[in-house]
Point group: C2
Chain length 397, copies 2
């Protein structure tokens, strides 16, 4: 296994920190949608299936938007693991109707679709270009969000993930231009999120945090912030599962989802993600639920990268997050911490723990998926080769 990278220069990298999203948090915040008129008069409302209609959010939002004098166009039916086809449709709508604002009401998939739509509206070529080459994002309509699922953190970050399943491609793109201008976070909108999605969302938040926490160059304050987010997920994930209308739990998970990925945990650390690239291949080839894929892979990834060199960090995770005995030796605590993680996903969040359980019953694509995932592994906590990744897939099978 390759060595852990360690910076020879500074323990805290230079960075520029900007967090431009204005967040309105709490029950009743929807009324702040009237602020959209600051950006223009024609809005593209992007959403998924009918759930926002059943929950009444759709009707309430339209009333506020119309009350503010805004003309509303619609892009509906955005899929989980959102497709480039929806983005193309949205960009076309924007261009044809001279739309000047994009509003996503939904979870991460809807927001990600809205983001690339907003950039596509300002781009002459095919929107897929913007997914495979973020440098091509030179302009975008302003993006607003009403969040209905706590998971991806897309409500406060510059990233979007779009799939072209016809090519088994799923890629992340990003630009400061894609960071939402304003996001409305009303925890009561997540009361109706299913147990499955609540668990997957919690695993997604935790995985974003792990990606920042297990890093070759760590900021001390940033690592403690990571532990804060992890403890919040561990404390409230099961509460939300068992008591879906628990406002305190939903509020903490929702706010944790934003902070896991809004740049605070990575600023000054030397972060390059390890588990997400592997999961993206699973989703691209098998269209599985992202958070479930992450929960399946994470404990096996942890076991695979555990070594004399990394045991101290896993032990620290165990002591600071899981409350393990600081006097126990590092290797013992590291193993216990990984076991805590696995049991939490399995027993507390009731997540599937094998690829089999989510319908991946053949190993024939492991090589091609691993090859693609390994491409971005340089600079990871522990860089992974194609062979490493195949081993992790097999262990998770």
């Amino acid at each position: 296994m390759a060595k852990v990278c360690v910076s020879e220069v500074f323990p805290v990298y230079n960075f520029t920190f900007e967090l431009p999203t204005r967040v309105h948090f709490g029950q009743g915040s929807l009324e702040k949608l009237a602020e959209l008129k600051e950006s223009g008069s024609k809005v593209l409302l992007v959403y998924g299936g009918g759930s926002i209609k059943r929950a009444g959010i759709y009707g309430d939002a339209l009333k506020i938007l119309h009350g503010a004098g805004l003309e509303v166009f619609e892009l509906s039916g955005v899929e989980p693991n959102p497709r480039i086809g929806s983005v193309r449709k949205g960009a076309k709508l924007c261009k044809e109707n001279a739309i000047d604002t994009v509003l996503a009401i939904g979870g991460g998939s809807v927001i990600d679709c809205a983001k690339v739509t907003a950039a596509g509206a300002k781009y002459d070529g095919d929107a897929w270009d913007l997914v495979i080459d973020p440098m091509k994002i030179a302009d975008a309509l302003p993006i607003y969000v009403v969040l209905t699922v706590a998971a991806t953190g897309s409500e406060m970050d510059p990233y979007a993930v779009i799939s072209d399943l016809s090519k088994n491609e799923k890629w992340g793109t990003g630009s400061p231009l894609l960071t939402p201008k304003m996001s409305i976070l009303d925890p009561s909108y997540t009361f109706s999120v299913s147990k499955k999605q609540t668990a997957a969302g919690t695993a997604d938040i935790m995985s974003h945090t792990f990606e920042n926490y297990f890093t070759p160059v760590e900021g001390f304050l940033q690592a403690r912030f990571c532990e804060a987010v992890l403890k919040t997920c561990i404390h409230y994930g099961p509460v939300a599962l068992n008591d879906p209308e628990n406002y305190e739990a939903r509020a903490n998970l929702m706010w944790a989802s934003s902070w896991a990925i809004n740049g605070t945990l990575s600023a000054g650390s030397g972060v390059n993600w390890c588990v997400h690239p592997m999961e993206h291949e699973l989703s691209a080839f098998y269209d599985i639920t992202h958070g479930q894929g992450l929960a399946i892979l994470t404990p096996h990834w942890m076991m695979h990268v555990l070594s004399e060199e990394t045991a101290g960090k896993f032990a620290e995770y165990g002591v600071n997050v899981w409350g393990l005995d600081p006097k126990a030796d590092a290797w013992t605590n590291a193993l216990a911490a990984i076991e805590c993680t696995r049991r939490f996903f399995k027993e507390e969040l009731k997540l599937p723990m094998t690829l089999h359980e989510v319908g991946i019953t053949e190993q024939d694509k492991f090589e091609i998926m691993a090859e693609k995932a390994a491409a971005g592994s340089e600079g990871c906590y522990v860089p992974l080769t194609k062979e490493d990744i195949v081993k992790i897939f097999k262990a998770a099978f």
Copy 2:
């Protein structure tokens, strides 16, 4: 003693979160000063004594500002516990020269002076009005910062504290208009901060965090973030004291200073500060160092508000921040946590621990100071009467 306030409604309050300061962090970030030209062509440079000249920052900054084509005016000699007189002088300079940007190079006192100067430049009356009534701040010049002391967090917050020692008055004011547009945080600029100021600054950061942590209505995630900042101060404060050029320590303390008070720790919690109002009276009457005053008062404040009702919270602080045994009973851990705090200030940070040591040798002003401090105590973790505050002053005497 009055009861701890507890919200009957939501454990997490509604809030709007905005963090508009762009931060350039790390050695060599000074070059970003060229960005000032985004706001105009005439800059008022605000600074204190000669330390920024000795450190070479003054010369380097002027070179960059002139290189960017900016005309530079100067307000120098800003005092610790900055005086309204300096603000008046700065506002006058801005008005007379049609200055369009204010740049503070220094610590919290310099930044606070620059903030109210920036508002005073846009105000027709006397700048003291803006200190005693924040609602009168209706406009302000854009504010930029180069930070040279890790302490007040003024580099990323909307607050300023200004004194009129002729009246023994020291008041905090604030407005979103006072939040810096951009701040440069180069940890190496704090290598030359004295042991005394390093210790006082660390105590100040911790006190800001305590004010957010000990709150009647607590957000879980926010409380864990508080613990992250506290652990960072406890870990790196003594390192910076003993090894002033330790970049890692200076970087973590500097970033902690910003996060202790940039709104993240308080958003969603029901925060009203308890110890700062008491210390402000000490500074207003005796012009002592703010962070020293906080360190002297804090353990006595903790002992005074410790009760059956609050012991659980102090015990949580002890377990999560000081690593006390979670199996011990709450009262034992609460007392131990307070003792850890006291010993840390005294033995690790070498701070004075009595009012006597900082030159307050008479008790004759305790009553008047306590009366003023008690005015703002409503909504505190444990509301304090004038009598409570006199007791705390006497215990700290």
